[in-house]
Symmetry: C3
Subunit: 476 residues, 3 copies
């Protein structure tokens, strides 16, 4: 672990986060209360005529990375009730890093010594803090709303995080604007969502600085900046000079900062004995294995890797694979009301035409390219085009979708606004068409019974279809 | 079963449906996820000054029936968050028919032979499909959002379906517009709800066709129309000619189509042995009886008959009866968050003054006529008039209501936006007035204790009151 | 119990109520269905630049008390989705009184005799009604939406009730306007919330009376006023004269009325034998003790006293105490989705800087004064000022807050829009800062490790901090 690693400074997201780290990482943050509920959109006008595959439209440069933000006023984000951000955290590494969430009410379970709390922890370099998780490419990370967390890249290459924040979730009781705040550093205002009528927002913003320079209302900082120094000093029981310095008012490092020396924190390793036993296939397992009490509040699993091919839920060696993370394999998603699906279509393969029954699907292309068609409830095409790495395209609930990989295959991750999102397949062995009597199909489509039979039975694969079968299957 | 029967072509409702088939049938479709939740209305202005008993204001004629749609911009529908549609499916029959919902993830359990899946089902006329339900007058049918379903009338008279679609339900994550789409046929645009500001909607609609003929944006069809033929052919593994034909672009039959020959599908009958045993009162029951595993996901009961007098929950031989279907007797309603009540008041009988505690009540008059008064929270009358067969009148949550049957009695069905809707009765043996000490009533109303006693105890019936008792009960 | 006591006449709140009775009483009403859910705000613009500590802005004088209403269009109420009302019910007493809620479907369990229902209860002065609860200062009372209730002050001093009504709760299916209606008396229109654009509301109001005097649309009365007298007479089986009189059209007493004689109702007392056994420490407990079936629907506990120091959840003899009522100690709050916290800071003590993770916090100052600072997600101060008894100041979800008591201490009650509201503490032994490795803090704040250690460990108290420790703790 070399020096000069990078750190996404203490980012507290006041909203639901779901983030994927593409190319290097896929990580997601999410959240909800146990009673959290997705709401329908406030806006009455989600009559899509056109959806576009989008790249981020704003960029913030920090000392040790960049942050890119998708336009939250784009209909596809506004109507799905989410915001999307991509952080690229610099530096040497090989797709590895650390993440930690500070969960209120939970103890600091990583302790430098077995000392009792009564001894003064300020003496020497001893420390104690909450659990820190190693992360790697393809990890989905779920973060409860209102919980502070941070990332640290100790690897040899940039760490890319894609975050989906669910502003429509019940856990957000304020308006639909995306809000995020920082405990440290001096972040820019631009990272805040401004979904309301922009002019009105600006108006309200300028009420304060109108007569004067007007620059003040763009000021934005960490959570401590607007508190009285004396107050802070008293609350932390520190001197006012230090209280003033944690406001970081003249800090220009941004939200991703460089760690000047090696970052020290506690990280458990296998003991010598464990290693010995483990290599012998002995009975004791390592500290990280399941122990039956993992799913208490303070030990809830927040991370699930979605890249591992052995976890694929649907696999067709001639077409590709689909891997799902939902509340059945990552239980905290039950509270957060989000889920995700990783899709990988091989060259020219097709994903079955389908619609999302109970969720919007926010698709982030992680690799390759392909063609997508999306059709609304009026039978009108709202998207028909090529997509490529780094773009987001949303399929609203109940809109019909077809995807086909290009010559290099197509990989994507779909963030879905339901913890157990379901699709309704139109073609293939598990399709709605198969559930309907062929005579009903024949009359409804005004075709012959034999043709109805072909529509029902010609495509025998489930979910993802190989490209070559058509000529074989055609019997006409 | 003669030829020339009718069929409501594959209607997929993208929203929550609850439909009642009046005169001939009462059927309802509904739905929700297990976490589905009703929301308050978006619109801030539901300050009713006036509610009107309404008949449908739009009509669409199909080959074999008509579809009538209530104005979804009427305050009573907008504020209750529902849309209402009535389908009349032509033809000979006696209040019978078939309904089937294609539930994703469930197998095709009706199979023409006991053949294994590995044998080619395309050979010959063998078929397999999901369960098909016989329906009759008074059936309430619940349909999950996002599930495709169809109706078939094989009877000797028209089949009338009244549908209530709950656009405010959690299962709808988009805006408050009512959306429905079709897998087959070539439906008209008019069936779509357009709740937003109409002018704005039109504006958006005309953005596309402005310079030109402008007629195009009214085009509406089945879900396949906007997909690329080549894409469809590949997905279904069929030739492009058939792919083009299932778009039904030149189909003018509408959404209710005539079945040219007898419609064939699998329908279980009692075996000879069962019949023998059944007539002997033997131990084995028929295939349709409860078996303890009926309520799994794929076998969930979707239908409950609400017309049968023996199912009445409140019965007064001098006043009428009330029958409720809610999540206690039709469990899927727990997920759908809707319920219904059938009311039948005999000549001149009265339903107790009451308010709906936790739901709006959308009342569809199925027979007879009567007088209804509805009062808002300011003590102002918002409706005081006659109602008659075929009309809808909504009682918003917490508005006080009295109903009195006319000389022919009054029958209605109340669709309620809560799976366990409760009313608060103002008069009668189960009333709020009875729960209050008479001295409190005397002081609050500034009346004597003896008068307070009469208000509490003079009406001893529950819920529905006979018309004649007044003179008997009057003791003053 | 002297004559001339006061009564809050039958107030039915159509919305969620949570009320606190300050100085004399603290009582709260709340409610929801078992599936009730808090929604995010409809309004898109809750971009607070400024929050003010507010006193009521409207006052209604009744015969025996006054009612004061906070401006529901104030951003802090609009965005939190609540309305606030304070009733002051006159008269002699010492912080005691009675409350009763009429719960539909529950029997009248207080009966004057063991007579059977078949005997005519109208004979003589016998009565039967639902349970009546004694209330005292500091009681929080939860009232389900749609349930009628009333208060009675038989004490020697005014009874003050502070009510918080949650209009954003799932149990309210209409718009965000606060609605309340009355079963008796002749209340003024002013008590109704008018959250919509006021001009538009007035416009709609005047549509009716425009050409004429215009005074009519201000008319407001009890729920019976707009019903037909004949109809009412028939429903209650009374004569039309009495039906007309319960409309109370010429009643000018307002919503709090004077009880002319002693109010009579049934109130259980210990029997002689119970008293004897109780004083001997015998086995039998009184009628009011828990019996294991208390929490059925009809016997649900609706009241919890939050003033009793022995119930404090956090206590620091040098700083103060915090007492919480949530769904763990008052289970009905699980359905109502609200909770409350009583705070008492001693002279100059500090409450930890914190943010509310999953709720808005509506703070009503019950005694003393102090300083509060509230900071939004942009690090901007939205409130920095003195607060004093009788004011309300709201801390929106995820806004950071610090409170410091003045020289007389500070007492308040926080109503929270979640049945298990959580805060995220920034300083002290249970803080987020403590969960983070000190090296991460040092890099994020650009301070030394030793300084990071001081920020983490200098303040060792939890939640509420004594004022004097600063100089002791400062080690620099």
């Amino acid at each position: 672990m070399a020096s000069s690693a990078s750190l996404l400074s203490l980012a507290l997201c006041s909203l639901l986060l779901f983030q994927v780290c593409s190319a290097q990482f896929e990580t997601g943050r999410v959240w909800g209360s146990s009673r959290s509920q997705r709401k329908s959109q406030q806006q009455n006008e989600c009559q899509f005529r056109r959806i576009n595959a989008q790249e981020p439209d704003r960029r913030i440069t920090s000392e040790a990375g960049i942050t890119e933000i998708w336009d939250e006023n784009d209909d596809q984000f506004r109507c799905a009730g989410v915001a999307a951000i991509r952080h690229t955290i610099e530096q040497r590494g090989a797709g590895r890093g650390y993440h930690s969430a500070a969960i209120p009410g939970c103890p600091e379970t990583y302790q430098s010594e077995q000392e009792s709390e009564s001894r003064d922890p300020r003496q020497g370099s001893r420390d104690q803090h909450q659990k820190i998780r190693k992360i790697r490419q393809g990890d989905i990370i779920a973060i409860p709303a209102g919980v502070a967390d941070w990332f640290y890249n100790d690897g040899q290459s940039p760490l890319v995080l894609v975050q989906i924040m669910d502003t429509s979730n019940f856990a957000n009781q304020l308006d639909q604007n995306f809000r995020k705040f920082f405990l440290a550093g001096n972040p820019q205002r631009e990272i805040q969502g401004q979904r309301g009528q922009p002019s009105r927002h600006l108006y309200r913003g300028s009420e304060k600085g109108r007569g004067g320079g007007g620059g003040q209302e763009q000021r934005s900082g960490n959570i401590f900046q607007a508190f009285d120094e004396q107050f802070l000093a008293e609350a932390f029981n520190i001197d006012t000079d230090l209280a003033r310095r944690i406001k970081n008012e003249n800090d220009n490092r941004g939200i991703i900062v460089r760690v000047e020396e090696q970052l020290e924190f506690l990280s458990p390793e296998f003991s010598e004995e464990e290693r010995r036993q483990s290599s012998q296939g002995g009975g004791r397992t390592g500290r990280w294995s399941a122990n039956g009490i993992e799913e208490t509040f303070c030990t809830a699993k927040l991370r699930h890797n979605i890249n591992d091919p052995s976890r694929a839920d649907i696999f067709n060696p001639r077409a590709g694979r689909l891997t799902t993370v939902n509340s059945f394999n990552l239980p905290i998603l039950r509270y957060i009301q989000l889920s995700a699906q990783k899709g990988f279509l091989y060259r020219n393969a097709i994903m079955t035409p389908h619609w999302n029954m109970n969720a919007h699907s926010i698709n982030y292309i992680t690799r390759g390219s392909g063609q997508i068609q999306i059709v609304n409830e009026n039978g009108e095409s709202v998207f028909d085009g090529q997509v490529q790495e780094g773009q987001i395209i949303t399929a609203p609930q109940n809109f019909a979708v077809i995807k086909r990989a290009g010559s290099d295959g197509l990989e994507w991750i779909s963030f879905k606004t339901n913890d157990n999102a379901k699709i309704n397949q139109i073609a293939g062995r598990a399709s709605t068409i198969r559930a309907i009597p062929q005579d009903v199909l024949a009359n409804a489509f005004a075709i012959s019974r034999e043709e109805a039979q072909r529509i029902k039975f010609n495509r025998r694969e489930i979910g993802i279809f190989s490209p070559e079968t058509r000529s074989r299957g055609r019997r006409d």
